[in-house]
């Protein structure tokens, strides 16, 4: 216990803890959007966008996080323009094309600017211990924006989840909300990549939602509000518990959180 307290007194560990607590509680809200709006293929594209951002940042020798967020936003805008109605209905095909395009561009940039491929691919493994204060500030701001967006627009979000056409008939600005949600997801993916890496990003976004769902059903708490709250609570518990275990046992936090989430998910499936 003393050793654990000593470890948490170290700035990188404490910063990581704060980051994981906040992102664990808030980022699953994006996971609900990803799953409910069928944006899973787009998430893969955004992960590849981070690789492209990483290549650009290293080639230009500039900070990684703002560049990866910017690249993801540009990719999202490109996709919104390609899907002419902006409804996100055709994101599957365009995501695949954009994913290939971003990897191709990343490989060209790495070749032209002589960026070591290994350094860029290191982005696939994030680390909550390597966060700067600027990263934490960006994460907190993003979490706050996401939380406020969900709270203030909860009714519109519910309508969009139910039917985009009915939402349009009600006078809800579907294109605007769709764009805002996709931009938030793009930003969250970029930040989460830095925390947990590309391979385990889903343990922050998707798995808390998947873990919460069977338990909510078991306790007869159906509905979107319950899903948002349940995912948030589950994400927070998984992140904090996984991080503490990782620090105590000297395991990699990303893997520990993902394994923990996986165990809870399978328990949930058995219960279901």
């Amino acid at each position: 216990m003393d050793r654990l307290l000593l470890l948490f007194s170290l700035a990188p560990v404490m910063k990581g803890f704060i980051a994981m607590s906040i992102s664990g509680a808030i980022f699953p809200l994006c996971g609900v959007m990803v799953l409910r709006l069928n944006l899973v293929p787009m998430r893969y594209m955004l992960m590849h966008g981070v690789i492209l951002g990483g290549a650009i940042a290293m080639a230009l020798n500039v900070p990684l996080l703002p560049v990866t967020i910017t690249v993801n936003l540009l990719l999202v805008f490109m996709m919104l323009m390609m899907t002419n109605d902006g409804s996100g209905r055709n994101f599957g095909g365009t995501s695949a094309a954009t994913m290939v395009l971003s990897m191709a561009l990343a490989s060209l940039i790495m070749h032209v600017a002589d960026v070591p491929a290994k350094d860029t691919l290191d982005l696939l493994w994030g680390s909550p211990f390597a966060l700067s204060l600027l990263d934490i500030a960006a994460l907190c701001s993003l979490a706050l924006i996401l939380l406020l967006y969900v709270i203030l627009n909860f009714k519109n979000i519910k309508n969009l989840f139910f039917s985009k056409e009915i939402s349009m008939s009600l006078g809800i600005k579907v294109r605007l909300h769709n764009a805002v949600m996709v931009i938030l997801i793009a930003s969250v993916v970029a930040v989460a990549m830095k925390l947990l890496g590309a391979f385990l990003i889903d343990s922050l976004l998707i798995l808390p939602v998947m873990c919460a769902a069977p338990f909510l059903k078991k306790f007869n708490r159906n509905g979107i509000r319950a899903l948002f709250i349940g995912s948030s609570v589950t994400g927070f518990i998984l992140s904090v518990a996984g991080y503490v275990i990782a620090v105590a046992a000297d395991f990699p936090p990303a893997g520990t959180i993902a394994v923990l989430a996986g165990i809870v998910f399978f328990i949930g499936r058995i219960i279901k």
Partner: protein, 331 residues
């Protein structure tokens, strides 16, 4: 002047003009929880319209200073002899309402007409002028629907019936022409004015992370007060008989249940313009009847403007609906 008595005790009084005191009494009854049996009315003038309305509200004995023969005939045919008395009996009251109702016998239809005349309808007018769209037979289409009007749009497959509904609710933009709802283009319309019920096949959403029936019914509910919202949702669900489905996921419901929930959603929303796309398609006989009954009840109580696309011949049993045949009447 109208006075209403319950078991001899006066419970309501109004000096408003025309039929308005009776409509005020109708509103009063919504919150009145005293005895309702043995209601009697004293009115300064009772024509057929007043007689129809008073009887709908449960009045079983009425007296008028001036009463028309038409009113006496109607009350006698419905309640029997001696249920209406007068100081002066005239052949007919000199007003348009009396003439309008003279040959009508259906109480619902008369009630609908009277509310429309009194402008006590939820509906808003729709005006379509020279509408053109690239799909279907929507070419120079013009259509006027008054506040609280009810219209059935018929037509062969591919004529653009669904497209027309989507144009009205702003999902598609017309190539040319105009659509005005309550005098405004769709984009400038107050939020939650339109209640759109698309075809069932378009609501077969994925079953994961779905909304509950209660959430779906509350989607268009405009009040921010949680209790009022809950009350409105519950009332709408009771009205369409889906209160037992409240906690269930929408996507697992049967076709008929989904239509009940969709209608409840529009009721809770207090939609002023109701757009229904094949509301009875793929439903069995009982569920079709249920949808028809709810639509009938809606069209004579709240009276939104209703535009319904259908292939269903049984829906023509909804009396007094205008019919617009797309592909024949425009162009």
């Amino acid at each position: 002047m109208l006075k209403i008595f319950a078991s001899g005790r006066q419970i309501f009084y109004s000096e408003s003009k025309w039929l308005h005191p009776i409509f005020e009494f109708e509103s009063f009854l919504e919150t009145y929880d005293g005895p309702r049996d043995n209601l009697t009315a004293w009115d300064s003038a009772i024509g057929k319209a007043a007689a129809v309305l008073l009887m709908r509200l449960g009045v079983c004995q009425m007296h008028g200073e001036l009463v028309s023969e038409l009113a006496v005939k109607y009350v006698t045919s419905q309640l029997g002899e001696g249920k209406i008395s007068w100081d002066t009996l005239v052949d007919r009251l000199m007003c348009q309402t009396e003439s309008q109702l003279e040959n009508l016998t259906d109480s619902d239809e008369m009630y609908y007409l009277l509310r429309q005349r009194a402008k006590l309808v939820l509906g808003v007018p729709l005006s379509i002028k020279n509408l053109c769209y690239k799909y279907g037979k929507i070419n120079d289409l013009s259509l006027e629907v008054p506040s609280g009007g009810r219209i059935m749009i018929l037509g062969e497959n591919g004529t653009g019936k669904t497209t027309l509904l989507r144009l009205i609710c702003g999902i598609y933009r017309p190539d040319s022409g105009s659509i005005l709802i309550d005098g405004k283009p769709v984009k400038q319309l107050e939020k939650y004015t339109i209640g759109y019920i698309p075809q069932l096949s378009e609501l077969q959403e994925e079953q994961n992370f779905d909304l509950t029936v209660e959430e779906v019914v509350g989607l268009g509910c405009q009040t921010h007060n949680r209790q009022q919202r809950k009350a409105a949702v519950e009332a709408a669900m009771r009205r369409t008989g889906c209160e037992n489905l409240a906690g269930r996921k929408f996507s697992v419901l049967s076709g008929g249940e989904k239509q009940k929930v969709s209608l409840a959603r529009c009721l809770a929303q207090k939609a002023k313009l109701l757009l229904l796309d094949e509301p009875t398609a793929n439903l069995d006989k009982d569920n079709r009847r249920m949808v028809i009954d709810i639509l009938h009840s809606l069209s004579i109580s709240e009276i939104p403007t209703i535009i319904m696309v259908t292939h269903d011949k049984e829906l023509t049993s909804l009396k007094k609906w205008s019919v617009f045949n797309l592909g024949e009447q425009n162009g």
